[in-house]
């Protein structure tokens, strides 16, 4: 394998071409080469989800794939979600629910939630748990994160309805699973 290569990728909508060592992990490329330190590394083994980024819209552990694997693809990091100072609905939901304590896992949770809601706009609790089971949070006990994901789904629906009021069909309210109460 070549020692180094020129990586051509799109990060948060901006085309990037960089010479990198072939062995460079995507997380290191983002953090050290591009200075996008919002992507966090913790377990180094694809179980904690802290380093989750979206590659062509799919959630990926940036600690465990090569930067070279992002060649020709589009990468979205936590820095790419807010439109200037306008938070994404998922970021707003996590803010409103104070769905973090130390915050180290938060970027990964937000990106995993973005991927979930892009796929399932109105997830049941069981679907949320399934989608986020690969993201660890050591601080919160997860309750505010569940609340934030539910709120994020509502905020995204509202945003879509505001954009296209003509075909606003409110999603059927799914039965709440008896799992989280305050």
């Amino acid at each position: 394998m070549a020692e180094s290569l020129v990586l051509r990728t799109t990060v948060n909508g901006t085309a990037v071409a960089r010479a990198v060592a072939a062995r460079t992990l995507l997380a290191d490329f983002l953090r050290d080469d591009l200075g996008l330190t919002g992507t966090k590394v913790s377990c180094d083994a694809q179980v904690c989800g802290a380093c989750t980024v979206l590659v062509d819209g799919l959630p990926v552990s940036a600690c465990s794939i090569l930067a070279a694997d992002a060649d020709g693809r589009g990468v979205t990091t936590i820095e790419g979600l807010a439109d200037d100072d306008e938070l994404s609905p998922v970021q707003r939901a996590f803010t409103e629910c104070s769905a973090m304590q130390c915050g180290y896992c938060t970027p990964g949770f937000i990106l995993a939630t973005e991927a979930l809601l892009a796929d399932v706009p109105d997830p049941a609790d069981a679907e949320i748990r399934h989608a986020l089971d690969g993201n660890l949070c050591r601080c919160t006990g997860y309750r505010p994160i569940m609340e934030a994901v539910r709120l994020a789904a509502r905020l995204r629906q509202e945003a879509r309805q505001a954009e296209a009021p003509g075909d606003a069909t409110p999603p059927g309210q799914r039965p709440e699973h008896n799992e989280v109460t305050r």
């Binding site: 330190t37 304590q101 180290y104 937000i110 089971d133 109460t181």
Partner: protein, 791 residues
């Protein structure tokens, strides 16, 4: 709420002040910090648990392109001798006993111990070079368990006793107490009455023993530090919970005045006690000193696990009761496996002694406790230590007794709880809350929800602890009212997720009558922050919050005097008029403008808390831990689901209710992890599961089916507005509660945690607990909470 406050305290929960930074990825952690020209370090670690170091081969490492240096303890000592302006280096650290070699010297004491540090131009080069360093060992007998270490013929792991080198006043090693034994790192005891005699004559005596596992707190940000050493000034950025404690250890390494050592701590990616005191900062600093370049060191998770774990504990409890359930005596022995170095396990042991016997009136008590050196990774603090280590053995002892006495386990506890104003520990603060009322709330909540259905065994368990919390009350805070009336708070209390920046900002807003958005907390930095002893022991809201409150009142007094001066002397006696009530941004800006004139200015207030006034008596407050769980067990697989979790937050006054509930749930969830899944397992000389795949922490799918985080507010805390600390309480009792529920469901009392599915399945087999008839929980069962709680 105080009159005229901004309404930022209590009742409702303001959002976290750090939420925006944390959802955008802009929140800075130490691991994100870079310095220009920075080198990168990688640690070469021992591959023996106990061995003499006989040689090191470094040529292959040095040949790696970009490798700058391979540094050992001997290299550092030699370099110090040859460098002008440098005194002798002190190559050990440890705030109680400085037994901890920064790099192994002469011998290694655990697998994973740093032997050398490789410094290179890039992290990858450092990684490659470190792989090529070869260490020669002469094996010594490893002492892998406390039993090995306490054997009569065991070699002393630390022949040097480091006597007289403690830099933490008021602590004494066994040697200073005159009872030094080889491999006993620390000992503590507590006794009153005559427990032995009382047990001999007690109508009912119940004995239990339990093993509490080695744990890893798993703060998700790994240990990391970046250091530079220039012109006799050392600057370190790290993820330390207690920057001022690290500063002190670093000053001693280099013989520097504290003023020349700067420790900066940005947001911390989880601490939970695992980042208390000094870890890798001295190693990083020495690498920077040696190479004369800034150096950054980031550990991976395996290295983090080897850097600090929590002590395992073997606890034996004998309790004597009257037939009516009155406790007569308890005799408790605690042995901690503290690993190769003491770190904060001295405090873990002291707190185990104070917290092992529960919140009960005990006429005759005898506690003996030892922290034992072994050839394993060093152990130290983890959230709510002491209570967590001992509640499993001591609270299941109460449940077992309840069964033998024919008394409901909650009722048995109620009969023995210390009342408000009664002494739990002689000479300490009397019990400052109504534990029986707390327990009644817990009973109502845990019995008020009855899931059913499924072929499962169901049972509930409760557990109670109290902890002498708050550590030593020493705190200084400074508030600066700026020229436009906005406010900066300077505090050394670190933000590791617990929400201290939010709640301290709320206190400032409330006291000064300014909006929360006008308050900012300055970063924690020993160069500019006032001294803060520690951020731990659930102390920040209570102790630091009081210092902040006093700082605000000092600033208000000053600015009010300034306003009075502007108004001129009083009309009759020439003395200044009574200070007007100055509050809020507009008032502040006006006074500062008028008093300073066109040059502009600001007003600073200082608040100090020390062992005086309402903090004269230790502990600053008692932290209550009361939890209940309902579990459902599949006897065929041992799979356990927590169907209901109840936590009681006896918080005095919740300044931010959502924050308090978040602390309780977070602590309880970590407690569930240690009760059900988490355990570091030594297989021979090394940890078999030093990773987050096999060290299994709670996931979102493990969330209890129903969660009640109950707050009890009586306004009786010593902190601001009647508050007292939370954060650790709910972790302490969790092991006991889960074990009680499992025992009630399976019919067998477990003697070790965690209760993994395999262990629960074995308990089901041993207890012949099945759901073969389809009726939940009808196996042979002990009298336990399951039968009694509903009565």
């Amino acid at each position: 709420m105080t009159a005229g406050g901004s309404g930022e305290i209590g009742g409702h929960s303001v959002g976290r002040v750090d939420a925006l930074a944390k959802v955008t990825g802009r929140a800075g952690y130490a691991v994100d910090h870079r310095l220009p020209g920075c080198l990168h370090a990688r640690v070469v670690r021992s591959q023996r648990a106990h061995a003499r170091l006989t040689g090191i081969s470094r040529d292959a490492a040095l040949a790696v392109p970009g490798c700058v240096a391979v540094i050992t303890a001997e290299d550092l000592l030699a370099a110090a001798a040859g460098r002008r302006g440098t005194g002798p280096l002190f190559l050990r650290f440890g705030h109680v006993v400085p037994d901890h070699w920064i790099l192994a010297h002469d011998k290694v004491r655990y697998y994973g111990e740093p032997v050398a540090v490789v410094v290179a131009e890039t992290p990858y080069a450092a990684y490659d070079a470190a792989e090529l360093v070869d260490i020669d060992y002469q094996d010594l007998p490893p002492l892998m368990t406390p039993a090995d270490a306490l054997a009569a013929d065991a070699p002393a792991l630390h022949p040097d006793r480091y006597s007289g080198e403690s830099i933490m006043p008021g602590t004494a090693s066994g040697e200073e107490k005159g009872t030094w034994q080889p491999n006993v790192a620390y000992q503590a005891d507590l006794a009153w009455g005559d427990a032995e005699a009382a047990l001999a004559s007690a109508p009912v005596v119940v004995e239990t023993s339990g093993h509490f596992p080695m744990l890893f707190a798993y703060p998700m940000e790994p240990y990391n530090a970046v250091a530079s050493f220039r012109d006799g000034i050392l600057e370190v950025t790290s993820s330390a919970q207690h920057p001022f404690q690290v500063e002190r250890d670093l000053a001693r390494v280099f013989g520097l005045p504290l003023s020349q050592v700067r420790v900066q701590v940005p947001y911390i990616g989880g601490g939970y006690g695992a980042k208390s005191y000094t870890k890798i900062e001295p190693l990083t600093a020495l690498a920077a000193w040696y190479t004369r370049r800034p150096v950054k060191l980031v550990l991976d998770v395996e290295e983090s696990i080897y850097t600090t774990r929590a002590d395992s504990a073997d606890v034996t409890v004998r309790s004597g009761f009257e037939r009516d359930g009155t406790l007569i005596a308890r005799q408790i022995d605690v042995v901690l496996d503290t690993g190769a170095y003491l770190d904060n396990s001295a405090q873990v042991l002291e707190k185990s002694v104070n917290r092992c016997f529960g919140p009960y009136r005990i006429p005759h008590l005898q506690v003996t406790a030892r922290a034992v050196y072994t050839s394993t990774s060093p152990a130290s603090s983890y959230r709510g230590f002491g209570a967590a280590h001992c509640s499993f053995a001591s609270e299941t002892n109460m449940d077992l007794a309840a069964g033998q006495l024919g008394i409901d386990p909650i009722e048995l506890r109620r009969r023995n709880l210390v009342a408000r104003g009664q002494q739990l520990l002689p000479g300490r603060r009397a019990m400052d809350t109504d534990l029986a009322d707390d327990l009644a709330v817990l009973r109502e909540a845990i019995t008020g929800y009855r899931p059913s259905g499924g072929r499962v065994l169901r049972a509930t368990g409760v557990s109670c602890t109290v902890a002498d919390a708050g550590a030593l009350p020493s705190s200084t805070a400074q508030v600066r009212i700026l020229s436009d009336g906005s406010v900066v708070l300077h505090t050394g209390a670190t933000e590791m997720g617990q929400g201290s920046h939010t709640v301290l900002s709320q206190i400032v807003a409330e006291e000064l009558g300014v909006p929360l958005a006008a308050v900012r907390v300055a970063p924690q930095d020993t160069l500019t922050s006032p001294f803060e002893r520690t951020t731990g022991a659930s102390r920040t809201t209570t102790v630091v919050g009081s210092a902040v409150q006093r700082a605000c009142r000092d600033a208000l007094e000053k600015i009010s005097r300034m306003a009075a001066e502007i108004d001129g002397p009083g009309p009759r006696d020439g003395r200044p008029a009574a200070a007007p009530d100055i509050r809020g941004r507009a008032d502040f800006a006006k006074v500062i403008r008028a008093w300073f004139g066109p040059g502009g200015g600001e007003v600073a207030g200082v608040g100090v808390v020390r062992r005086a006034g309402n903090f004269a008596q230790l502990p600053p407050f008692w932290e209550v831990g009361m939890v209940g769980v309902q579990v459902a067990i599949d006897p065929d697989t041992g799979q356990l689901d927590v169907e209901h979790l109840v936590t009681i937050g006896d918080v005095g006054k919740a300044l931010n209710p959502a924050g308090v509930e978040g602390q309780d749930l977070g602590a309880a969830t970590q407690g569930l992890g240690g009760a059900l899944w988490e355990e570091l397992i030594y297989d021979g000389q090394q940890i078999a599961n030093a990773n987050i795949i096999e060290y299994r922490v709670p996931r979102i799918s493990d969330m209890p089916g129903r969660i009640d985080t109950i707050l009890i507010e009586r306004g009786d805390g010593p902190g601001p507005y009647g508050s007292k600390g939370v954060g650790e309480g709910a972790r302490g009792p969790m092991g006991g509660a889960v074990a009680s529920a499992v025992a009630a469901a399976t019919g067998v009392w477990p003697d070790r945690l965690p209760l993994t599915p395999e262990r629960i399945w074995r308990l089901c087999q041993a207890g012949k607990a099945t759901t073969a008839t389809g009726e939940p929980g009808d196996g042979e069962r002990p009298r336990g909470v399951a039968e009694e709680a509903g009565k």
